[in-house]
Amino acid sequence: MAIQQDEKKPGLWARLNDNDIAYSFFHSPIAMAAAFVTALIVLSSFGAPLIAPFDPFDPAQISLWDGKKPPAWEVGGDPAYLLGTDNQGRDMLSTILYGGRISLLVGFASVFLGMFLGVALGVISGYVGGWFETLIMRLADIQLTIPGILTAILINGILRSVLPPELRDEMAIYVVILAIGLSDWPQFARVARGATLVEARKEYIQAARVIGLRPALVMARHIVPNVMRPVLVLATIGLALAIISEATLSFLGQGVPPTTPSLGTLIRVGNEYLFSGLWWITFFPAIALVVLVLAVNLLGDWLRDTLNPKLR
């Protein structure tokens, strides 16, 4: 009694058109534009070693003589440096591409960390209930009363003071990821717990329990896949926030060091030269940051509207 494999599979386009999410995507110009911009930034950032004209991390390619050059179209610009150079003579375009890579890396990694923690704690508290739920949810409430960026700064500060000085720069990026991720989890935990309370009452969960599945397996196999919809929406919007958080931390000098600059670090460095007329050092990274965050946010909004038709 083998499965009949001769049933004709519909083509890719037909299947996409049949899928409600794909249909909504291809009929939303904003979503498509946002996805295109996000993809462009992600690809060019991660492909930076291939497409960037210079390697800003290679001291051999940097010359202080070339520092503070304006963009190529301005008076005194050098065609080799399309968007000009910063105070140390690094090519702005290359630095932004490499910096975007760090911003995105921190964004993705910290959202993933926050999501993992939040979903795990939220699903367990929703399913198990009792004192564990009370404890976790009160903790989340307390953390939500403090602005996320303050929590991140606090965690960041503690972690840095614990690290030996020689490791600080090297570990800075992981510290930032940890700080933002830890400041992020309460929102995920709340959403996941709410969805878990709804799902746990459904009969397929009871069926799984009647079969004999242990709570860990019920949660992992049955509840988590069914609470991921709202969580993913939150994660997309959270990605934009995490990128901003990283930029804020770096702008405040608490983030990644200037030797491996992220977009936030670049904006901070440029800020010092803004009133000397060297506007490009801060302007181009800021534009890159705004475009990236806007595109990700628009994608998140579209995803939310599509997955939660009640909000429309």
Binding site: E203, Y204, Q206, A207, I211, G212, P225, N226
Partner: protein, 576 residues
């Protein structure tokens, strides 16, 4: 001239996958004082008719053709303002769920007076007086006091009475009632139907009563229209349609309704409606996988429940003595013999589902014992020991739309118990067993590759049954397995359960609020009310000579496909 008439009504819902015609070319009319029943299964378009008449089609629905006349004047081409003046004033509405039909933030008085004053020019005094007399008329005790209360302070039946009062407030000429009693228990349903009929006669209001329940149709309607796949297949006087239907669909629909008066070996199979199913090979237990490992015998009694007590915490306090509990199951004892189908019947809140869940281990009893296959389940301490009993005991749930994980393929859903209990020696054998099980529940092996949302309610219930069988159980708990299904599908599923029970020698605990279904399925029955087991008897004995007063009451209220004598019901005090 008829009161309300529509000619050649067609309702369409344009979607991106093409235009869906929900109602096609339907012509009907209602006279003053008449109740017209519109009956059909889910998706037949019966509710759409009601919504179309009052201009409340859900977007993107539209009236694509036909004319609607109210007392001879055309209303389907009126604009929204003119329609609003008709809605509520000349055409009243009663919907299925009394909870969502009332505003929870306003007292009943505010809602009634607002509606009265909106449509009739009355002073506050007059409006209040008419509101009180309306509540009195719909049978709410102490109307002058209760009118000050909020909807949540009324029980389900009382709330539906308030909704009826609300529909009557503006003295409408026509009332459209969409499944008005579906959310109510049988005893309350009978009272509400009786009330609706009286009111129609007394005020010569025409009523369109939309329902899926043949019993309701038989009870109160004068004429019936039968809908099938968005078309009107038959229309005529109720006695004629129920007693001597012309159309094949009507015939099969009536034959599928479980009979309360006599027990049949099998339900008549309704080929007209869904051809799937019932083409299955019977299982030979001696050679089949499902029969393997069934050597152990638990003796004469499969399950013995002793003084079972389940309670729920309704108000928490840190002090133990201040905690308030609700006794959902109050010291119930019964036993189920090997190979028997034991029924539990009762109204909602009687505790029958709670018993099932306590037996299945979903609730922890506060007291009492559950002996299953020779062991006391309340004494079992380790999970691995419990697994032995879990394997032998499975459960089929009520709601086919929530009992399957929407993110898992049918193959994985049915294979889960096999994998968990290690009942197959590898992936290939597991697949083989799953396909075989799907064949046996009448679905076909290709179902394994699909997701639950690709199936109808009845098909999903078959998947649930396959999953329950996958542990090779000896004892099956069926908790209202067909109450969410259409009557034709119900007949198929019940037949399937009967066949499987006979072939596999299963013992069953069958829970239902539906007495005719109980009569067709069960060998012995227990009657429950308020957490207590009132009577246990052989099914035939119970139906022929019920001993307990409440059992007699339930049997009296059972809707029959012959017109009931209503003196009995009217004489009962409104215990609600």
């Amino acid at each position: 001239m008829s009161l309300l008439e529509f000619k050649n009504m067609t309702v369409e819902f344009p979607t991106r996958r093409g235009v869906f015609t929900a109602v096609q070319d339907v012509s009907l009319s209602v006279d003053p004082g008449e109740i017209l029943g519109v009956v059909g299964e889910s998706g037949a378009g019966k509710s759409t008719i009601g919504n179309a008449v009052i201009g409340l089609l859900e977007p993107p629905g539209r009236l694509a053709g036909g004319e609607i006349y109210l007392k001879g004047s055309r209303i389907d081409n009126l604009d929204e303002d003119a329609l609003r003046a008709i809605r509520g004033k000349r055409i009243g509405m009663i919907f299925q769920d009394p909870l969502t039909s009332l505003d929870p933030l306003q007292t009943v008085e505010q809602q009634l007076m607002e509606t009265i004053q909106l449509h009739l020019k009355q002073s506050d005094e007059e409006a209040r007086a008419s509101a009180v007399s309306l509540l009195d008329r719909v049978g709410i005790p102490d109307p002058a006091i209760r009118i000050k209360q909020y909807p949540h302070q009324f029980s389900g039946g009382m709330r539906q009475r308030v909704v009826i009062a609300l529909a009557l407030c503006a003295d409408p000429e026509v009332i459209i009632a969409d499944e008005p009693t579906t959310a109510l228990d049988v005893s309350i349903q009978a009272q509400i139907l009786e009330l609706m009929r009286e009111l129609c006669r007394e005020r010569s209001v025409g009523m369109i009563l939309i329902t899926h329940d043949m019993g309701v149709i038989a009870d109160v309607t004068d004429r019936v229209a039968v809908m099938y796949r968005s078309r009107l297949v038959e229309e005529g006087p109720t006695e004629k349609i129920l007693g001597d239907p012309d159309h094949d669909y009507t015939k099969s629909l009536i034959s599928a309704v479980p009979r309360p008066d006599v027990r049949l070996a099998r339900f008549p199979v309704v080929e007209y409606i869904e051809s799937a199913g019932d083409r299955r090979d019977s299982i030979d237990v001696a050679t089949h996988w499902l029969g393997a490992g069934q050597t152990e015998s638990g003796g004469e009694t499969m399950l013995r429940v002793e003084d079972l007590h389940v309670r729920f915490l309704t108000k928490f306090s840190f002090l133990k003595k201040n905690r308030i509990y609700l006794d959902a199951v109050d010291r119930v004892s019964f036993d189920i013999r090997q190979g028997e189908v034991f029924g539990l019947v009762g109204e909602s809140g009687s505790g029958k589902s709670t018993i099932a869940r306590a037996i299945a281990g979903l609730y922890k009893p506060a007291g009492g014992h559950i002996h299953f296959a020779g062991a006391d389940l309340t004494e079992v301490r380790t999970e691995s020991e419990m697994d032995r009993y879990r394997r032998q005991m499975q459960m089929i749930f009520q709601d086919p739309f929530s009992s399957l994980n929407p993110r898992m393929k049918v193959l994985d859903i049915v294979a889960e118990p096999i994998r968990f209990h290690g009942l197959a020696s590898g992936g290939a054998e597991t697949r083989q067993i799953v396909m075989d099980l799907l064949e046996h529940v009448g679905l076909g092996a290709e179902a394994a590759r699909k997701y639950p949302h690709e199936f109808s309610g009845g098909q999903r219930q078959r998947i649930s049954i396959a999953r329950a069988l996958a542990t090779r159980p000896r004892f099956l708990i069926c908790d209202e397995p067909t109450s969410a299904l259409d009557v034709s599908i119900q007949a198929q599923i019940l037949n399937l359960l009967k066949d499987l029970q006979a072939e596999l020698g299963l013992t069953m605990l069958f829970i239902s609020h539906d007495l005719p279904v109980i009569r067709q399925m069960c060998d012995r029955v227990g009657v429950m009310r308020h957490g207590k087991l009132l009577e246990v008897a052989e099914t035939e004995t119970l139906f022929e000579s019920p001993q307990h007063e409440y059992s007699r009451h339930l049997l009296d209220l059972m809707p029959r496909l012959e017109v009931l004598s209503h003196e009995l019901i009217a004489g009962l005090e409104m215990a609600d």
